[in-house]
Symmetry: C2
Subunit: 218 residues, 2 copies
DNA sequence: CACAGGAAGTTCACGATGTCAACATTGCTG
DNA sequence: CAGCAATGTTGACATCGTGAACTTCCTGTG
């Protein structure tokens, strides 16, 4: 279904090498994290000479960054998926809280389901930011919104529902992100051996702590 | 001052190669993170053949793990340093809160001051845990307590002061750790370009959020 | 419709790295 | 003082990222 015409021989030179390499790189990262992305192996899997990659990427870090962008998009999709299974309760406040929780859950679950890609998503964006005008660096989900934008949306909803104090709004994004990101890393690293049951309980507890910290006092 | 006897020629074979290699590896990690730890270079710096390292480490990951342990110890020391500058206020509750804050601040500051070592501290402990009886895996600070133990101490103090609900005690450690760890990673990664002033404000806000989430309601 | 231009790949080559196997050295122990 | 075992050294390999030069083959121009 991906290939429109299977009978024809592979097009011109290859067709779309760049995309194929990113796919191969993604597969590598999936099982071994960013350091598993090895240029020669990716080329090998695509059936092309190692140096062919240099027609599409300036160097290895460039490929890795492309994979990271892909991973970021998947992260966003995971959050969207969790959002999609949300039923409105009728109470704006509860809805807003649930919204934030879903975003967080989607985040942590992506990390747990795709540890290699998750790790890849957060490494080495050191390459020049180019011009400087663009506020978003791609990596969006199906809704066209990036992971961080989905978080901001959730916080805005809380603000609108009156569960989040305007004064806290600014730091809320980073704090919430930090809590969820840290939890993910911990679950993948030091707390790796945790049984699924305890793990889920911990996720719930942590998300609740974030909520408690954010919610307007009283 | 580090070398007790500078007049004598280097002892037997080398003296204490293992330690020297870990030191060299630490220096490498300091500027480039775990991936900058390269066996041959470490050996080169110590003035020894590459393969000499294999008398002390089964392979590269083994060296990296040793460096990670060293980094963990420095992390603990950073937290201890922050604790040391704490003046008792007379109020147990405030003391407990300040204690937790200091632990968190020591954590984040270490991450910011030693990004490479911080990154190294949390990577690839995948090697077999050996027997299975030992509850602590080294990496202690000068007080003999590891970073995670220092956190637990802070939480116990909060419990004793009545600021932390016993029911929350279990998840508190992980949640607090996650928040602080995530904040550190974010400040080093996606939020890397933040000006110091904003950064400090963010740290304060995040630590306060953790406090708010933990503190007994009311 | 041929053909030049250039994009996309290929082949060769190099230096660096992790690691294995065999060999050399040296301090300690009986 | 002899030999053993720990500690280092040499030599060799496969693999990796990457640069330079060469080859194919699509595509736009006359």
């Amino acid at each position: 279904m991906t290939v429109p015409d299977a009978s024809a021989p592979p097009p011109y030179h290859h067709g779309n090498l760049r995309h194929a390499l990113v796919r191969a790189g993604t597969d590598l990262a999936r099982t071994g994290g960013p350091s598993a992305i090895v240029l020669r192996e990716a080329a090998r899997r695509v059936g092309v000479s190692p140096n062919a990659a240099y027609r599409h990427f300036s160097a290895l870090p460039d490929l890795i960054e492309a994979v990271a962008l892909e991973a970021l998009a998947m992260l966003a999709r995971s959050m969207e998926a969790e959002l999609a299974r949300l039923g409105p309760t009728g109470d704006d406040r509860l809805d807003a809280l649930a919204h934030l929780g879903a975003v967080g859950r989607g985040y942590v679950h992506f990390a747990l389901n795709e540890p290699g890609l998750f790790a890849t998503a957060f490494t080495a964006p050191k390459t020049s930011h180019g011009g400087g005008g663009q506020r978003d660096q791609r990596g969006q989900g199906d809704s066209g919104r990036s992971a961080s934008e989905l978080l901001e949306d959730a916080l805005d909803k809380m603000l609108a529902a009156g569960v989040l104090a305007p004064a806290d709004r600014a730091a809320a994004a980073t704090s919430a992100w930090a809590a969820v990101h840290g939890l993910s890393e911990l679950l993948l690293g030091p707390l790796g051996g945790l049984p699924p049951a305890e793990r889920e309980a911990l996720i719930d507890a942590s998300l609740e702590l974030v909520g408690r910290g954010l919610i307007i006092r009283g």
